[in-house]
């Protein structure tokens, strides 16, 4: 039983104990006595209330300190959310750099591979002529010169390609750094959620102690209405559970099927 529950229980016990006396006084017409008892009960309730509010204020203060928001409110350190935002911007930046670097290396390597393949194709034709002895001496000398050039180019190009491939491998190092950052942000968010949950629970206690009742149904209905009013074309970004969600397609084939079934 929480502290709040305990004091409420005490108050309820006091109320129960005084109830028969109160009823008797009223029935006997001893209104002064009854009024006196009402006052005492009221006092007991107020004292209980003050104690509860005091406790809740202390707990609220603790929660705020844990959320590290008290320093931000006074313009001090950046809040955890600002920190998380900065970290995620860093992730976007790193992944963009890595993607561009990898594409640069691929674009550098493509012409090298094209040359090797193109030149080999043309050499093969002439080489076969030579094999069929369908070549004169001068043509043969030209062929030799071209093969020599090709071999040299191949050597230097393959070494360059090897290097490019290594660098492409290295460019993937972002994943380790971004992975760490994302894990940290996940921890921050989880902590934030649990602290917010405590606040919500505390709000519930305040309601109880003060005797306030919120129309939960009405609040929920209002939220639903707001959600519907949001633009229907508001995107959701990449889907993570396409395989289990029914309102989402799970691949290009699904898209094509959907469109053709509608006559598009």
């Amino acid at each position: 039983m929480t502290q709040a529950d305990q004091s409420l229980a005490e108050f309820e016990a006091t109320l129960k104990a005084h109830a028969p006396q109160l009823i008797e006084s009223l029935q006997q017409g001893r209104f002064d006595e009854a009024a006196q008892m009402f006052n005492e009960l009221n006092q007991a309730r107020n004292n209980g209330l003050y104690q509860e509010v005091g406790k809740l204020t202390r707990e609220l203060h603790n929660a705020i300190v844990k959320l590290e928001m008290d320093t931000c409110a006074t313009g001090g350190d950046p809040s955890p959310i600002t920190d998380a935002t900065d970290r995620l911007s860093y992730v976007v930046e790193m992944t963009e750099k890595a993607a561009n670097r990898t594409m640069d290396l691929v674009e550098e390597s493509a012409p090298l591979v094209n040359y090797v393949s193109y030149e080999a194709q043309s050499l093969v034709a002439d080489w076969q002529r030579f094999m069929r002895r369908d070549m004169n001496a001068e043509e043969f000398r030209e062929l030799v010169r071209r093969i020599d050039q090709y071999l040299q180019r191949s050597l230097s190009d393959s070494s360059q390609l090897s290097q490019n491939l290594s660098e492409i491998m290295l460019a993937q190092d972002f994943q380790d750094l971004t992975g760490q950052v994302i894990k940290r942000v996940t921890r921050l968010i989880t902590e934030l959620e649990s602290n917010l949950l405590k606040l919500v629970l505390m709000a519930g206690q305040v309601d109880r102690v003060a005797g306030i009742q919120h129309d939960r149904e009405a609040i929920r209905a209002e939220q639903e209405k707001k959600k519907q009013e949001k633009e229907p074309s508001h995107g959701e970004g990449p889907q993570m559970h396409a395989d289990i969600r029914e309102d989402v397609v799970s691949g290009q084939d699904d898209v094509d099927d959907l469109l053709s079934s509608l006559g598009f």
Binding site: N100, M103, G235, Q239, G251
Partner: protein
């Protein structure tokens, strides 16, 4: 044939540009949002539009609607290339007049097929 590529991520624009180049389309231009793309399209010269959906200023679906509402642009072939995969959205895009819809991640083969299909229809 001049193609406009619209996406708020520069890496995606680069990938699509390269794929188009591999398919023989070397005359391409880029925009990072619907708001920058629309004036480019209005000033003329484009034969094809490839656009993402989610963009901060003007989204792809709004760009599509603006294109279809413009007297000179309404017949411009539009291909959407996007991560948005909800059925409702795909239907919405089709109803707004999109000519093709490719979901990310996609392959070079898929992009090629969709582009060829669009031009078959346009020329047919």
């Amino acid at each position: 044939m001049k193609i406009l590529i619209v996406d708020d991520f520069s890496t995606m624009r680069r990938i699509i540009k390269n794929l188009l180049r591999d398919l023989g389309f070397t005359n391409t231009a880029e925009a990072d949002d619907g708001t920058t793309a629309l004036p480019m399209l209005k000033s003329g010269g484009f034969d094809f539009l490839v656009t993402d959906w989610n963009m901060p200023g003007m989204s792809g679906i709004d760009l599509l609607r603006a294109v279809r509402a413009d007297e000179r642009l309404k017949h411009l072939p539009v291909l959407m290339v996007t991560a948005e995969a909800k059925r409702d959205q795909i239907i919405e895009a089709a109803q707004a007049g999109v000519n093709g819809y490719v979901v990310k991640p996609f392959t070079a083969q898929v992009l090629k097929e969709k582009i060829e299909k669009i031009f078959e229809r346009v020329n047919g």
